[in-house]
Point group: C2
DNA sequence: ATAGTTATACCAACTGGTAGGTATAATAGT
DNA sequence: ACTATTATACCTACCAGTTGGTATAACTAT
């Protein structure tokens, strides 16, 4: 038996497959059978690890957000200057957006569209996911503002939400167009906007 | 009997109901029975007007894009100055975004996420929808650039795609948060960015 | 005009297949 | 032997789509 600390490889395979399939086809269109086949696992195992498809959805989303947070924490790099940290955050996000593995879409945006009106738990998780993301980047912006543009009247939190909107929206465009560069282009515009806010001050 | 020119009220009821339900729950989770019940029509009638659920999806999307185009054409108002037209476009979009009826989400973004990987026809329609949208606003920006910022190096088309990304992304945020103002806030940032591009020139 | 014909609009009941989920047996690790 | 895990067979509900039919409006020939 494995200990509770190291996660079951079967469960991981199921979560991986579920995430991959759901990013492509959405939650509803992805069947439990699909997931089991992709993970090379039988249904018995599936329902041994997850009490329902809904619960799997919640776990996949949770895992997605957790890995996102880990990334965000590393995004500013080792910069100490708060404004440079903000720029580094955007630059590194641009770099990441060009990686094929990162350009499969965002489970937060997808689940928000598909499940918010029918599944309150998923909606709460999406809300929290976005809030944490906005808070993370928003705090960096707030520090930069305090240091370099304290009298400017833009709202750091709003700016962070603006970044999220740009990301989510351009990922959708990237998906339809099969264009892995558009997220970067849009983030470049976002960076130029942020610059204009700080240079003006 | 009705003539072929005036659309059947039953078919309209079905399309209305389908659009409403799909904006809330997505395409896959919306069943034909749901639609029929909401439209107060029986299934027999449904399949009299639509050969499949897929075809209904295409028609709903087509109608959604058509009504969108109509709106976009009116968005600049009666302005003649090209730059003022651009600002009017954004301002009017902000106004519209506050209307509850317009804040139900965007079928283009939704179908893109749910159906692009499985349904080539829908994907093509989504692509076209976004392309036309970007082209429409992009041309306005191009005219304004030619008149006021011909030497600036931003790309009008890219800027139009940036607007779309901001819209789509903030509509998702609005949906999770039940916040009808966030689209307006984000568009205000977008307008400020556009301004910064033109004022610098 | 009107009877006969046809096309359109609509409906209730049904079908085949598939979805999520369960029951239970087999296996393997300790 | 005991427990965690995996496998198989199955159940029930519900899905898209069909069937076979009725009602009504529109056209046509006389």
């Amino acid at each position: 038996m494995r200990t509770a600390l190291e996660p079951s490889p079967t469960k991981e395979k199921l979560l991986d497959a579920a995430q991959r399939l759901m990013l492509a086809k959405g939650f509803v269109a992805t069947t439990v059978d699909d997931i089991c086949e992709a993970a090379e696992v039988t249904k018995g195992s599936f329902f041994h690890y997850f009490e329902s498809k809904d619960q799997l959805g919640r776990e996949v989303l949770k895992r997605f957000c957790a890995s996102g947070e880990k990334i965000h924490r590393a995004l500013c790099g080792s910069e100490t200057d708060p404004l440079k940290r903000v720029y580094a955050y955007i630059d590194n996000t641009i770099k990441m957006s060009k990686d094929p593995s990162m350009s499969k879409g965002c489970l937060l945006g997808l689940f928000s569209q598909e499940l918010c009106d029918t599944n309150p738990q998923i909606r709460a998780a999406c809300k929290k996911g976005f809030d944490d993301w906005a808070k993370g980047f928003g705090q960096e912006v707030a520090k930069a503002k305090a240091a370099y543009a304290s009298r400017a009247q833009f709202n750091p939190q709003e700016l962070a939400e603006h970044l999220i909107a740009v990301m989510e929206g351009s990922m959708i465009l990237g998906k339809v167009r099969h264009d892995r560069l558009i997220v970067g282009k849009n983030l470049t515009h976002f960076k130029a906007y942020v610059k204009s806010l700080f240079e003006r001050a």
